[in-house]
């Protein structure tokens, strides 16, 4: 081989190492669009197997094992790290690798638009009638009157803080955005483009001039304002958290003392019992999520998936998940048991409280079409590029 060829091949190999290290490579197929076929009208015999993509904490043995015994469907779970990862997993292998997913609102519409999830007939789910009215036809899983999946848990992204360090108790998101924060270096935030909505929600309350109405429907100027706020915040952040365990470890070690959190994070930090923590819904309001079990339109085990959707709608199952995960059930029949089990502690769950749910800005996919006829909003890919801009330390 000549020197040039050797040089070229060495460079190619090294470049590939750099690229291959960053992710396993597979190219997505082009957009399908629309839905495939009608919803199945009955459940046949189980296939003996079920593979799910889920948020960590959503598929624990204590409620998965009884399901496996009842139905004979052996459950395999792949935990998605964030919504983008979940969409990616559900489209891999033409959507034939996984039967279903616990999709949040910022994933569900993308899956529906891509034709990756199947419509369902809610008359097959007797418990659907007991679901909170505001979750029976929500825009994040019901399109043109067609239902794509059954609701599971919902909850807020509230403000969590270490009560030893953070004094006085915060009541505003200003404590994680203020450039002069006394907690600089110990602030944390969620490492995902969707977190831009938290900044937008804060600006909606504190800078009415910007005219933000919905934190997920931002014009170019509004997005820039939120991004500038997050660039300021970048200097305050010690570490971002991407997976929920990052935040649990961070609070336990004292590296993080204040920041956005999921209820499950607080549960674990309290269980670890290393630092005292408290959570608050700040006066500007909170973003949050309402998750839906959705079935892949190419599910290899559709019957087991339908059984799983029926099972997870059961009030006693939802109570169990809620008590473990710290999220709120969608089935109102779970509430009496939850309130009985937890007593006063159940208050923060707001079980069955449609008004409280309405006050949460639930995650949804930012789209160019703002819903008010104009289409000058910034879409999710613009949000992703902006998030990278923040992370570049600009």
């Amino acid at each position: 081989m000549t020197k040039a060829v050797r040089l070229l091949s060495l460079a190619a190999v090294m470049g590939l190492v750099a690229i291959a290290c960053s992710n396993n490579s597979s190219t997505s197929t082009s957009a399908g669009g629309g839905t495939s076929g009608g919803a199945p009208a009955s459940i046949g015999p189980g296939e003996g197997h079920l593979s799910l993509v889920a948020w960590a904490g959503y598929t624990e043995d204590s409620w998965v094992k009884p399901f496996e015994q009842d139905t004979g469907c052996k459950v395999d779970v792949k935990y998605g790290t964030d919504s983008a990862d979940m969409v990616n997993l559900m489209t891999q292998g033409g959507g034939t690798l996984y039967d279903g997913v616990s999709a949040s609102g910022d994933a569900s519409n993308r899956l529906i638009a891509g034709g990756d999830v199947a419509p369902i007939d809610i008359s097959m789910f007797p418990e659907y009638a007991n679901v909170m009215p505001s979750l029976q036809n929500p825009a994040h899983n019901t399109v043109n009157g067609v239902h794509y999946g059954v609701p599971y848990m919902w909850g807020p992204n509230f403000l969590l803080y270490n009560t030893d360090v953070v004094k006085p108790a915060p009541d505003s998101w200003g404590s994680v955005f203020d450039a002069n924060s006394p907690y600089a270096g110990k602030v944390t935030a969620y490492n995902s483009p969707i977190y831009i909505a938290d900044a937008a929600l804060y600006l909606k309350a504190t800078q009415p001039d910007l005219g933000i109405t919905d934190p997920y429907e931002l014009t170019s100027d509004q997005l820039d304002a939120a991004v500038n706020l997050l660039k300021t915040q970048y200097g305050l952040i010690g570490k971002y958290w991407g997976v929920y365990t990052d935040e649990i470890k961070g609070f336990d070690s004292g590296d993080m003392v204040i920041g956005t959190a999921w209820p499950v994070n607080q549960q674990y930090i309290e269980l670890d019992n290393k630092v005292p923590v408290e959570s608050v819904v700040p006066k500007e309001g909170v973003t949050g999520w309402a998750d839906t079990w959705m079935m892949s339109s190419h599910a290899p085990d559709p019957n087991c998936m339908m059984m799983w959707m029926q099972y997870t709608l059961q009030p006693d199952v939802q109570t169990q998940v809620a008590e473990f995960y710290g999220a709120t059930p969608s089935n109102t029949k779970s509430c009496p048991q939850l309130n009985k089990d937890l007593g006063k502690a159940a208050d923060i769950y707001h079980c069955g409280d449609d008004a409280y749910l309405a006050s949460i800005a639930l995650w949804k996919t930012p789209q160019a079409d703002c819903g008010n006829g104009s289409s000058d909003c910034m879409d999710y890919s613009a949000w992703t590029e902006k998030w990278l801009e923040i992370q570049s330390g600009a």
């Binding site: 957009a31 483009p193 999710y380 990278l388």
Partner: protein, 304 residues
């Protein structure tokens, strides 16, 4: 012992004489398998990656739409000469990554040279093998384990914090800092710097050093004029490893640091915008090409 001579006219005999008479065919068949592997797996995936950079993503479904265009290149390469013709975000990411890779490389060479020199030229054979085993052993441990070990050392509640407190620096935290990443990288890639330098120093003939002394050169002069020039190819070879390994890494910023290097930008965009991720993946390729072109001039490839 009887020789196992195949009977005249058997398949084995005939094929063996065929390959003897056609050396080119023999060579072709020997190399066919590895070359196919190289071409199909490496080059084809590289070309596919390049093709991806010309596609775009549907913003709602984030599925790839295969209509050709330069839009991703417009997004990334939209700066002027001040930002190396990159858009500001990608310029900053490139700058941070390349500067980190350079600092890690310099530090590793500085740390590695004395160790390699001692092992190759000073230590007794016994001590030499002990040193080399100590250098190589960490490479046998999983890469993630080594990163997590440093994460545990540097973050809150760890030994680094205890040390800083002990010397009176109570309000300094290493968590998520560039310094923490630098420590981790220096540790991770040190063996890759030591080994090639050791190999090049070991090959310096004793006779050259004796000759230098006989001609009146001091130890310092011998080192500067004889040993060091002969070690340069090894140093450059080591620096290729430390530089390119840092350039391609995305775990350390995620676990130990904060912010985005090349790998983080690629992996975070990969799920939501594969074509843009593919375009960004060209940046480290360009950097490595430039680096290798410079390294080639020092003769480092003859030392590989």
């Amino acid at each position: 012992m009887a020789t196992t001579e195949a009977p005249r006219g058997s398949i084995r005999r005939r094929s063996s004489s065929f390959f003897f008479r056609h050396p080119k065919t023999r060579r072709g068949l020997t190399l066919a398998a590895p070359l196919t592997w190289m071409l199909v797996v490496y080059l084809a995936s590289l070309l596919l990656l390049l093709a991806n950079a010309f596609w775009r993503v549907d913003s709602l479904t984030s599925s790839v739409v295969r209509d050709w265009g330069w839009r991703n290149f417009d997004t990334v390469f939209s700066g002027n000469w001040r930002t190396a013709f990159l858009e500001r975000t990608y310029y900053l990411i490139s700058l941070h990554t390349v500067v980190m890779a350079a600092l890690v490389t310099i530090a590793d060479i500085v740390f590695a040279f004395p160790i390699a020199f001692f092992a190759a030229r000073v230590a007794s054979p016994r001590a030499r093998s002990a040193i080399m085993i100590a250098v190589v052993i960490p490479l046998w441990a999983n890469y993630l384990v080594r990163v997590f070990a440093w994460k545990a050392m540097l973050e809150g509640g760890g030994p680094a914090e205890a040390f800083l407190h002990a010397i009176g620096l109570t309000d300094v935290s290493l968590t998520g800092t560039t310094l923490a990443m630098w420590f981790t990288y220096c540790y991770l890639w040190l063996p890759y710097a030591i080994l090639p330098i050791y190999a090049s120093l070991e090959r310096v003939p004793d006779s050259l050093i004796d000759a230098s002394g006989d001609l009146g050169a001091h130890t310092g002069t011998t080192f500067r004029r004889v040993v060091l020039p002969l070690a340069i190819p090894g140093i450059v070879a080591g620096s290729i490893f430390t530089f390119s390994l840092t350039l391609g890494d995305y775990i350390v910023p995620q676990l130990v640091g904060k912010g985005s290097f090349f790998g983080n930008a690629i992996s975070s965009l990969y799920v939501s915008n594969p074509p843009l991720a593919a375009t960004i993946a060209l940046l480290p390729l360009i950097v490595v090409f430039v680096y290798l072109a410079l390294a080639r001039r020092t003769g480092a490839f003859e030392a590989l």
